[in-house]
């Protein structure tokens, strides 16, 4: 069949160029620009971008900003640990213990709340956690002491864990589902106690899945804006919130905001690279 050679030659471009150009223009190039702007101190709209100093990065080493960054990392670690502790038994039960034909449905049901608006989920947590909210109404009905969590880090932690738990369960499930059950049976036959078998047989097999889940939750936690913003109080500034306020807040400083944003990108990329290097190839399924 005769095919004109120029259409043939054009075909790869027609397929790859639109998306490629789009990604380049609206993702790669802007990210490079952020890195450049972060090197211009005190930049204002209309200024020439002439990367000249590390001043904006030095501002990050102000103790206050460092403290904010440390808080972000701490919150993300706490969220990740909580998600792992809460998510593992759930994924384990759905993947290994629940009736087989219900597994898919159970998993779907568990992650369904993920598909509701993240702002509205935080809003729901405000209704629950505020001093006269649902939680305290129930507690006082049961004659238990009430809890004061709203506008503080615990509320932020609850909101973030709630938002990210489904991700953790999804990834752990994918990993646990592939578990070789015969190994478990063999361990039991050889007289291993359940805990022993769990630690020495199950955990090593799902370690790549755990690593992938931890990474996914961690990078999402570090970039979370909505939960700290809506559930936090006067002492729950995080890096993502600070970047936002450096652009749309009361004292804008695009240069410093860009520097912080560049650091966020580098930090996240570094975590991924480390995982790919030292973790299992399974993480690629991310």
């Amino acid at each position: 069949m005769p095919r004109s050679s120029w259409t043939q030659r054009l075909e790869p471009y027609l397929m790859l160029a639109p998306a490629g150009v789009w990604l380049f223009l609206l993702l790669i190039l802007p990210t490079l620009m952020i890195f450049q702007i972060s090197l211009v101190p005190d930049i204002k709209p209309g200024d020439l971008v002439n990367p000249s100093s590390l001043g904006n990065y030095l501002e990050i080493f102000d103790p206050i900003v460092l403290w904010i960054v440390a808080r972000s990392i701490g919150l993300s670690i706490a969220t990740t640990v909580l998600c792992l502790l809460l998510g593992f038994p759930v994924a384990y039960w759905i993947a290994l213990l629940a009736p087989r034909r219900w597994q898919n449905l159970l998993l779907l049901a568990f992650v369904l709340p993920l598909w509701t608006s993240s702002l509205l989920r935080s809003y729901a947590w405000i209704s629950i956690l505020r001093p006269t909210g649902v939680l305290n109404t129930i507690l006082s009905f049961l004659h238990l002491p009430t809890l004061d969590l709203m506008n503080q880090l615990p509320a932020v932690l609850i909101g973030m864990t709630y938002s990210l738990l489904p991700y953790m369960v999804l990834i752990l499930y994918a990993s646990l589902e592939k578990l070789d059950r015969r190994l478990l049976e063999a361990a039991a036959d050889l007289g291993a106690k359940p805990l022993e078998a769990f630690l020495q047989v199950t955990v090593p097999q799902v370690l790549p899945g755990i690593a992938a889940g931890v990474l996914l939750v961690f990078i999402n936690a570090i970039g979370d804006f909505v939960n700290p913003e809506l559930l936090g109080g006067p002492s729950s500034m995080t890096a993502a919130r600070l970047v936002y306020s450096k652009f749309l807040g009361a004292s804008p400083d695009w240069g410093m905001g860009s520097a912080l944003s560049a650091l966020l990108i580098m930090f996240v990329t570094l975590s991924i690279v480390l995982l790919l290097k030292y973790g299992d190839k399974n993480a690629r399924t991310l």
Binding site: S5, Q8, R9, P12, Y13, L16, A17, G20, V21, F24, L25, L29, L32, M33, Q36, I37, I43, K44, P45, G46, D47, L48, V49, N50, P51, I64, W67, I68, R130, P131, T132, G133, D148, M150, N151, Q152, G233, P234, S235, M237, L242, S245, F247, L248, G249, A250, S251, P252, W254
Partner: protein, 383 residues
């Protein structure tokens, strides 16, 4: 990893295509990069961070975009204005002057035909060359305004703006929860343990640092660095006991009992006091701020005609009286006051007695250095 799969793909194509496409792809990518000045930028010849602008709103002349505070516009007002002028109004909300100008500079500016900055903020907008001068020939009823709003320091002769509302800043509290008669701002510091996370302050650094300066016996427009620092240090002692810094979010929380005491603008307080007799609004000693919010037309306004129509509509004494009553704002329109119900005319929150007004101070624009200092301490307070 998928080489086999792709090997089979190559079979269907004339040899050499992939290599050629590779080169072409690179060339193309290079051209795009060049065209965008990326390479220039990377070799630090520099590109310019342009002004972000907002796209021209549909060129229709029967639409008016407002940028205003949450409380100043409601659906009834928009409907009534549309019925009278035929103009459809769309509103966007902000909750502090600083955030408004940040949003304008981040590209939201060009669609708005009318902004509602505070009086002290007008000079800053003028300096940023954002405002258009008003054409007084197109405005009816300027003389209805109270005299102090005709010769404001920030905008003498209403060169750039027309006041819409004014009021004071004070404390609103729930008398059921806070039984003491609050007299002064220092009450917050003295009872901070009892009020742990039951109090909120405004999300506005001029107001918050300003009232704290006042408690120290300084002016709310203080520019001396050591005094500003003193106020910051005093505030940072209160901060761990505060629920949040919020301009609008305290209202329902106060009604629900989540908050007992909130720093508030009088205009927000009036409406709540009507609904809830347990609440009380005071201007604590040694005094608060006296503020006013104005309507101005940005230079880039897509529809200044509509903006003038809106100003004239609100300058009408009857409309002003209606708005003042329904939205619970205090009007600067002297001609509107006689049209108000008498209990509103004598309302001490809307129109405080002269001895209390004497305690209040008007905000003025700060020097850029002082402003930076305020902003710096504010970042520290809110993080």
């Amino acid at each position: 990893m998928d080489s086999q799969q792709f090997g089979s793909t190559d079979k269907g194509l004339p040899p050499g295509l992939t290599r050629r496409s590779r080169r072409r792809f690179l060339q193309q990518a290079g051209q795009v990069a060049l065209g965008l000045g990326l390479t220039q930028g990377l070799s630090s010849c520099g590109w310019r961070l342009g002004n972000v602008r907002s796209g021209p709103v549909k060129a229709s002349s029967d639409e008016l975009f407002l940028y205003t505070w949450a409380q100043y516009v409601d659906d009834d007002l928009l409907r009534d204005f549309q019925a009278k002028s035929g103009l459809k109004t769309i509103r966007e909300l902000f909750d502090s002057n600083e955030k408004m100008i940040a949003a304008l500079q981040a590209g939201k500016g060009d669609s708005f035909s009318l902004l509602y900055p505070s009086e002290y903020f007008i000079p800053k907008l003028v300096k940023a060359k954002l405002l258009a001068e008003l054409d007084h020939d197109r405005i009816n009823g300027l003389n209805n305004l109270m005299p102090q709003f005709r010769r404001s320091i920030a905008d003498a002769d209403n060169h750039y703006g027309i006041p819409f509302a004014w009021g004071t800043t004070g404390l609103i509290y729930n008398q059921e929860k806070v039984s003491d008669e609050i007299q002064d701002w220092d009450y917050l510091w003295k009872n901070k343990e009892k009020l742990l996370r039951k109090m909120s302050l405004l999300d506005d650094y001029r107001e918050v640092i300003g009232f704290c300066l006042k408690t120290l016996g300084y002016s709310i427009n203080e520019t001396q660095p050591d005094r500003i620092k003193e106020a910051y240090e005093k505030l940072s002692r209160l901060k761990p006991f505060i629920s949040s810094f919020t301009t609008d979010g305290w209202r329902t929380k106060l009604a629900a009992g989540d908050l007992w005491i909130a720093m508030a603008y009088s205009s927000d307080a009036i409406g709540l006091l009507k609904e809830n007799p347990k609440l009380r609004y005071i201007i604590p000693k040694p005094g608060g701020t006296r503020w006013s919010d104005w309507m101005v037309i940005p230079k880039s306004a897509p529809n200044p005609n509509a903006a003038y129509a809106w100003m004239n509509y609100l300058l009408n004494p009857e409309v002003a009286a209606n708005v003042s009553q329904r939205l619970a704002v205090t009007t600067p329109n002297a001609a509107a006051i006689p049209l108000l119900p008498s209990e509103l005319q004598t309302n001490a929150v809307s129109y405080p007695p002269p001895d209390i007004m004497a305690r209040c101070e008007s905000m003025t624009a700060l020097t850029p250095e002082a402003e930076k200092l305020y902003a710096k301490y504010w970042t520290q307070l809110t993080s």
